[in-house]
Amino acid sequence: MWKYKKVILVKDTDTGKETVRFSELFNSALRDRGLDGEVQVIRSADINVYNQGIVVKIIPGNITYSKVEEKDIDLIVRKSIKKEEALKEIQIDPKDKQVRIVLRNCGIIDPENINDYISVDGYKGLKKVLEQNDRDKVIAEIKISGLRGRGGGGFPTWMKWSFAKDQKNDTKFIICNADEGDPGAYMDRSVLEGDPHSVLEGMIIAGFAVGAKKGYFYIRAEYPLAIARVELAIKQAREKGLLGNNILGTQFSFDLEVRLGAGAFVCGEETALIASIEGKRGCPSPRPPYPSISGLWGKPTVINNVETLANISPIMHKGGEWFAEIGTERSKGTKVFALTGKVENSSLIEVPMGITLKEIIYEIGGGVLNNKKIKAVQTGGPSGGVIPEEYFDTSIDYESLQNLGSIMGSGGMIVMDEDDCMVDIAKFYLKFCVDESCGKCAPCRIGGKQMLELLTEISEGKATFEQVDKLKLISKAMQKASLCGLGQTAPNPVLSTLKYFEQEYVDHIKDKKCVSGKCEALFIYEIIQDKCKRCSLCQRNCPVEAIPGDRDKGYAIDQKKCIKCGKCFEVCKFEAVNR
């Protein structure tokens, strides 16, 4: 038996420094009243409330207090521990901002055990679909739900299915696009590793709805665990009669196969993905025809992203209307984001559409790392853009993000602070696209490379404003004349940083200055002799032995050896290193 009756969780949600002291204060207050045998005081690592001073949570009962001061402690013990009363003045009601549909089972069930999935209503959506045995009804339900593609494009899922369904062809295919490749994005991997059957079920339902007998899981080879778990899930589903011939004893047959992506980012583009499955070079082809009309081996093919498919079973099981209640007018349901970068809680989150960036960063993410000043949030990966702080109240939905010059994308969300240089960020994303361009069409192949060269000149202080004009010229040509989404959106990070952070470009070009200290070519490290206390810390920390000297003669940086890593700048306690 548990020896305590109650727990007091304590956490200093500002600096974390006061957690220990306050828990000790609680302990002594409990001792004073002879309650220390009944109540355990626990220093919590995270209490899911941020920047609210000392937060205290009492369990059971879930009474939460914020901004607790020393004077409150005795009162809390007297009222809320001895009795069951709450102190209204400092009580808060923290709401979980997350809504988990796609991630409903992740971290809850054993992904390698089909029975675990079945025990949480798994395959009930499929069962309902096969009982109704009406393809149009399935598509109508998806239409009611308002579900849109979660791979980034936001195309209505029911339309894709409907186009493919209407094609008169005995052979049709369903493809699950699990070629997740945006830097900093790992939503799909988590779903496949944590709940593979939910995606399987979505694919089987899609197969039924459009009249396909065969589906492919296109998973990037860099996800070995996801591949293993999907393959196991396929095997288990076959054994249970949920996949293969005569699914659940009906006339409907559908089977799945895993195909591995060989590491090309562009293969996440649907026509390139199809070429890759066909065994060809993974290059995009012109659309139309769209895959739902003529896709894999020329047959009607529905390509859905992992997250989209994971939504299907709950929609079928609970109804489209239930789903449509979540989210905004035009963007329904939830979106999974991989929240990373300069944020306290790097995490995989699922939020209802319509939530604001502010809520995500401060109420889920716990705010900016190390209390630095936030600069922007990047969404949509290399196809997206940066959103500056003044727009953090914007609702997250497909249209709003697009209006800001970014995109929803597949779900990467990277927080950037004052140490991030926007020219450098633009360069990083552009370099990614240049490396990943398939090379097929001239605007992307050459335009991307030329833009990267221009940005490099800017970041090295070798540019004039002419370079900016050229960047804009190429951007337009790439957006309009590139063959696929990769090239069409590759200029977005450049354009959006230019739009919101033009001053940083001006700094680099006119003043030859990088205020964030990221663009190496634009600064040199120097030791200010007046301030130097000759402690030798910089010398000892320099990784390339570029700081000769001793305590008598003093220290100086050998610029020829210096690699501008910034270590000396970081370690100096006397601000004697200048940059």
């Binding site: 090309a264 070079r281 290059c283 082809s285 012109p286 139309p288 240049v434 490396d435 990943e436 361009s437 398939c438 090379g439 097929k440 069409c441 001239a442 605007p443 192949r445 050459i446 335009g447 991307g448 490379k449 030329q450 060269e453 050229k470 010229l473 190429i474 337009k476 040509a477 309009k480 004349a481 590139s482 063959l483």
Partner: protein
């Protein structure tokens, strides 16, 4: 018929046609560097983008089907600016070697640069040095000049089914190269040269041997004999501003003499000789049941190479008769040398061919030297001879007609149609009919084997017996014919064909890989028409009626398939690996 608007002009069109196509109907030319009429659109260059009312996106005219009611704008300042930027980007990735480039003055990139008035380079040059590949000694790859349009790969893989060329690497490093990054000479390349004929720039070019020939022509001790292939006569004019398909046989004879060739023969004559041998071979196999059926023609060296690499199991079906080029060269160094008392060691034979693979054929096996000497010494493509004539300051357009040298210069109508798909078959049938029935056909034309349909299947009656035939052109069309034969053989079913003609290039030699640029089906039809007109105008329509051919057999060879004929005019085939290493 559907209706739509292009630049506010109403246009009626058949559904399924592209915007690029339909625009031409209303005299609107949308520029493009990657789309070629012969080939499926790759969408690579991005220059043909157009606006469609109601959409923010721009569409590629080359590969977007025109839709009912569409309102297309093909030219406005914004579109022109985008196109110019793309063109400037392509320029930044292309060497400025125009003056020393084989395509100088005949380059699609150069033309578009000129049209857009690009006067200075906006962007830094990003050109990677990639070494030339001359290993086939027929076609040269110069990947640094490649603009990545993908035509060569499209034609190599999807039209010719050879799969020698592909794209390697990605992004800015993407380059056209033999698959597996090997040398072209070690690849399955059959040297058809269709890649070079479709390349918009100088990235793929015929292996130029004009200097070697100039050297021979200057040597007083050498007797230079020249022969011209059937299809050259109706294509050469395009290099001198003549309308497509103009037959310029006699001007070519005259120009060749002025270049310094001592004797001017015509490959049409040896085509007649090929027919004597091949028709006899067919009769031998068909009537006398000696040898495998169907008999398959072998005049085309790219086809022979393809077969030896990909279908060596069909060797027994191949006609052993040499190609007209090789028959001519062998006869020059034997029959002609003997009669004119010229030391064959001091005789050189140069042939003017529509073809890059002919450069390979001259050394493909030891039988090519059956005369005791290398048969053909050099092969020049039509494109090369045009350049030589220009270098020599010959005013081709005004030069008076001349005759060939008679001994092996006169030809029948059957010989001249060798240059078009179906021509070898038609010529062979004319003679085979005579060999079986001892009579000439009342009507010598076989319309069913003419034209540009990929595979033409038909049958004719000789002496009440049906002969089933197939004609395929474009190597991609061969698979269908061969599979049919192989299947029938496997199952022991009656043969689908008795006689099959294959030419590697679409349209046959008139569309050969060494012909003047800009070939489309329209051009192929007109060039072929030029040959059929030459045939009609000939007094002799059948190979066996050519008096000089009769003389050759009477004076020298004896009879078709005689031992001497076999030794000099026939060859053998061996399986060859697709990849050398």
């Amino acid at each position: 018929m559907a209706k739509a608007f292009i630049n506010n002009i109403e246009v009626e069109f058949e559904k399924g046609r592209t915007i690029l196509d339909v625009a031409q109907q209303v005299q609107v030319k949308i520029p493009t560097l990657c789309k070629h009429k012969d080939l499926c659109a790759t969408g690579a260059c991005g220059i043909c983008v157009v606006k469609v009312e109601g959409s923010n996106r721009m569409l590629r005219a080359c590969c977007t089907a025109m839709d009912e009611g569409m309102k297309i704008k093909t030219h406005d300042p914004e579109l022109i600016e985008i196109r110019r930027t793309v063109i400037e980007l392509i320029l930044s990735n292309h060497p400025n070697d125009c003056l020393t480039c084989g395509r100088n003055n005949d380059c699609e990139l150069q033309t578009i640069m000129a049209d857009f008035g690009i006067r200075e380079e906006l962007f830094n040059k990003i050109v990677k040095e990639i070494p030339k590949d001359s290993t086939t000694r027929t076609i040269e790859l110069e990947p640094s000049k490649c603009i990545g349009c993908g035509r060569c790969i499209e034609v190599c893989q999807n039209v010719q089914n050879v799969w020698a060329l592909s794209f390697l690497e990605r992004g800015i490093n993407t380059r056209m190269a033999p698959a597996g990054d090997i040398q072209l000479g070690d690849s399955p390349c059959v040297r058809c040269g269709q890649c070079s004929a479709h390349c918009p720039t100088g990235a793929i070019f015929e292996f130029d041997q004009t200097r070697n020939v100039w050297k021979l022509l200057q040597d007083p001790d050498i007797h230079c004999v020249v022969q011209i292939a059937p299809s050259v006569r109706v294509a050469i004019g395009e290099g001198f501003g003549y309308p497509v398909g103009t037959n310029l046989t006699k001007k070519i004879y005259a120009a060749l003499r002025r270049l310094g060739f001592n004797t001017v023969f015509d490959t049409n004559f040896s085509a007649d000789v090929t027919i004597m041998e091949e028709a006899s071979e067919f009769v031998e196999r068909f009537v006398n049941k000696k040898g495998a059926l169907p008999l398959i023609t072998t005049c085309c060296p790219a086809w022979v190479d393809f077969m030896e690499k990909y279908h060596a199991d069909m060797i027994e079906h191949f006609s052993s008769a040499k190609s007209p080029q090789e028959i001519m060269s062998t006869l020059c160094k034997t029959y002609f040398a003997e009669k004119k008392k010229i030391d064959p060691a001091k005789m050189k034979v140069i042939s003017i061919m529509p073809c890059t693979a002919k450069k390979y054929e001259i050394s493909r096996s030891s039988e090519m030297s059956a005369s005791g000497y290398q048969g053909t010494d050099y092969v020049l493509t039509t494109r090369e001879i045009i350049r030589m004539i220009k270098q020599a300051g010959i005013d081709f357009n005004s030069i008076p007609d001349e005759e060939s040298d008679h001994m092996m210069g006169d030809y029948s109508g059957a010989g001249t149609i060798f240059g078009a798909t179906g021509g070898v078959m038609e010529a062979a049938l004319r003679t085979a009919y005579n060999f079986v029935t001892k009579e000439n056909l009342p009507k010598v034309e076989f319309e069913n084997v003419r034209g540009l349909k990929g595979v033409k299947e038909t049958a004719i009656m000789i002496n009440g017996i049906e002969i089933k035939i197939a004609v395929a052109h474009g190597l991609g069309n061969v698979e269908y014919v061969l599979n049919k034969i192989k299947k029938a053989k496997e199952k022991g079913e009656p043969l689908p064909y008795h006689f099959v003609e294959v030419m590697a290039c679409p349209g046959g030699c008139i569309g050969g890989g060494g012909q003047p640029y800009g070939v489309t089906d329209e051009v192929r039809m007109i060039r072929a028409k030029g040959l059929y007109q030459d045939d009609e105008a000939s007094s002799v329509r059948c190979s066996h009626d050519n008096p000089f051919v009769k003389e050759l057999y009477k004076d020298f060879l004896g009879a078709p398939l005689s031992e001497k004929a076999h030794h000099l005019l026939h060859t053998k085939y061996v399986p060859r690996p697709e990849y050398k290493k």
